[in-house]
């Protein structure tokens, strides 16, 4: 594997581009749409469970497979549980996994990539060899194998993503730093006698942050899909707890009787994922110079 290949296998990113001057930054429709979608979803999953009169896990066997009604806007499932309530609780789980998994890998990968790129030499060799090895594994297969060893559970999804997910960020940050490091103003900062820390934080980080943020949005989508996939396979969130992937798995046996059971959680993933994609595109437009 060639460590310098800039395509991460999940998404490609260009070389370091300077931040756009303030006057040329533009708020694109993608940004507005992304913020709007995610804002609505966030408020719904935070407030929704507080005001819902239903329990997400307690079976109500007198009300199984109810169609949409005033009492149950999206109907009920095979255990008579309110689907809307379960979707909202499940959204908390998926969004939390996406957020915690992504933010930890951004920080860890970012720091390791910065060390590799800035200090070079054997730091670079060690970190990039680990990266080369980890990249040889299919991401999902490695995550599945790690969860398999740790034991299926929601928390082990975090651990597995943490162990594998930092790699993409290490590669991006290292690549950007190798470019930025040679720019004149960084040389100048060094000549003036600034410490490494100050140079990294004040002069390099602002340049590196754009591709990282844009990639992180794509990664959010990926991590939601990973969490949903693992729960779908029975390796993540365990019943009776609600999680979107798990709800799809549970609903598929009842499709002919009630199509909402699989369709609604799938649409929920789709909406949130599209929201993050739009936000990522919008941020890219906002932070990169218009061309």
């Amino acid at each position: 594997m060639n460590a310098s290949t800039n395509v991460v296998g999940r998404a490609g990113l260009g070389a370091a581009e300077p931040l756009a001057p303030r006057s040329r930054r533009r708020i694109s429709p993608s940004l507005i749409a992304g913020v709007a979608i995610l804002g609505v979803v966030l408020v719904a999953v935070i407030v929704g469970p507080m005001i819902s009169p239903y329990d997400p896990t307690e079976p109500v066997l007198t009300e199984t497979f109810a169609g949409p009604s005033m009492r149950h806007p999206l109907g009920t499932d095979n255990f008579g549980r309110d689907i809307l309530t379960r979707i909202l609780y499940g959204g908390r789980v998926d969004l939390m996994i996406a957020f915690l998994a992504t933010s930890v890998t951004v920080v860890v990968g970012g720091i390791l990539g910065a060390i590799a790129g800035f200090y070079g030499k054997w730091w670079d060799t060690i970190i990039m060899r680990i990266v080369d090895i980890a990249i040889a594994f299919p991401f999902l297969v490695l995550v599945i194998a790690i969860v398999a060893m740790l034991g299926p559970s929601q928390n082990n999804i975090f651990v597995a993503i943490w162990l594998v997910g930092w790699i993409a960020y290490a590669r991006i940050v290292r690549g950007e730093i190798l470019v930025v490091k040679r720019l004149e103003y960084v040389e100048a900062a060094r000549v003036v006698g600034l410490t490494d820390r100050a140079i990294i934080l004040r002069h390099i980080a602002p340049n590196v942050i754009t591709p990282v943020v844009v990639f992180a949005m794509a990664d959010m989508v990926l991590n939601i899909l990973v969490a949903a996939s693992l729960s779908f396979l029975g390796l993540g969130t365990q019943p009776p707890n609600p999680e979107w992937g798990l709800m799809i798995a549970e609903g598929r046996d009842f499709f002919l009787r009630s199509w909402q059971l699989t369709t609604i959680p799938g649409l929920a993933i789709l909406v949130v994922g599209t929201g993050f994609s739009l936000l990522g595109d919008g941020l890219a437009d906002l932070l990169r110079p218009a061309r």
């Binding site: 090895i133 594994f137 297969v141 194998a145 740790l150 799938g266 789709l270």
Partner: protein, 311 residues
């Protein structure tokens, strides 16, 4: 050329060693005693002790790793706890289904990607392009298993067009069984592929040699096929190679949805059966497959593109 091959092979050595280390240490992620967990609650202490010996878990860590490497060198991935037979044999039984699924997926992905990307690039910023880009946006966020379930329920359960899962008998029957699963995985990776090919085509369309070809008076169809598509095909091959890991991950889930008896299904049954040697073996095989295909992609690329230096 042979020097290039040799150099790439030598570069692979540390990666392969690293892979074996990762696979080996995986079993040490198991909380507690792997032997006791594998045998479950009904096992006697003697059974557990014997399995520990068989797995070599009593030895010091470094000795264990050496034994693991020695076994690997002789082609042994250990024995399955559940099936009581060599892991390698089990894997070879399940490998053909996964390889056929992967191959069909790649073919379908190309069939989906090339026309969509071409359409989007030629009609840039017009309605067709906007529609393709909307498809990409939604396609990236779509869980493949959900798409698979919907296709299965719609085309198999409702309309009975396709067979209901499994792999079938004979080559053509197998192809019929593989169509829906391959289509599902192909749809999920073509979002990435179309996005890349579209921007690559747009870059090539404005390149100098294309303008020259047009100025020479070639028809726009000839220019597109001989000068634009051929150039962009190279980058698509690379991107396909780089996304192979993603594709293989997708097959694990889709095999489960369509009940295909491939490596992914063996992986999952082994996980739930706590058959750790099989889990280790399969993970290694997936990684080796990805490395090999990437190597082949590199070699094909180098052979096709005169600009790639072989030395």
């Amino acid at each position: 050329m042979s020097r290039f091959v040799l150099r790439r092979l030598i570069q692979m050595v540390p990666v392969v060693f690293g892979l074996t280390a990762v696979i080996f240490f995986m079993i040490h992620l198991v909380p507690g005693d792997p032997a006791a967990i594998m045998l479950g609650t009904r096992a006697t202490p003697e059974n557990v002790a014997q399995l520990r010996r068989n797995l070599g878990l009593d030895e010091p860590l470094l000795v264990q790793y050496m034994i693991f490497l020695r076994n690997l060198a002789t082609g042994s991935l250990g024995d399955s706890i559940f099936y009581r037979e060599p892991v390698l044999g089990l894997i070879l039984d399940h490998l053909p289904t996964t390889l056929m699924l992967a191959t069909s997926t790649i073919i379908l992905a190309v069939i989906i990607t090339v026309p969509l990307a071409t359409l989007a690039a030629l009609k840039r910023d017009r309605l067709a392009d906007q529609l393709v880009r909307a498809f990409l946006l939604v396609g990236l966020a779509m869980p493949s298993f959900w798409v698979g379930i919907n296709l299965l329920l719609l085309l198999t359960v409702r309309f009975r067009i396709f067979p209901p899962g499994g792999i079938g008998e004979g080559f053509f029957d197998q192809l019929r069984h593989l169509f829906l699963p391959a289509l599902t995985v192909a749809l999920s990776i073509s979002a990435v592929l179309v996005r890349n090919l579209r921007s690559s085509l747009i870059d090539t369309l404005t390149a100098d040699h294309v303008r020259t070809a047009r100025a020479k008076g070639l028809s726009s169809r000839a220019v597109f096929i001989w000068h634009v598509l051929r150039n962009s095909a190279m980058s698509t091959v690379t991107i396909l190679g780089l996304n192979l890991g993603y594709l293989m991950g997708g097959t694990v889930i889709i095999e489960q949805v369509f009940a295909l008896p491939g490596l992914g299904q063996l992986l999952l049954t082994s996980i739930f059966g706590r058959d750790y040697p099989v889990v280790q073996g399969i993970t290694l095989v997936y990684a080796v497959l990805v490395i090999l295909v990437n190597l082949i992609t590199d070699l094909v690329y180098a052979a096709l593109d005169p600009r790639v230096s072989l030395d």
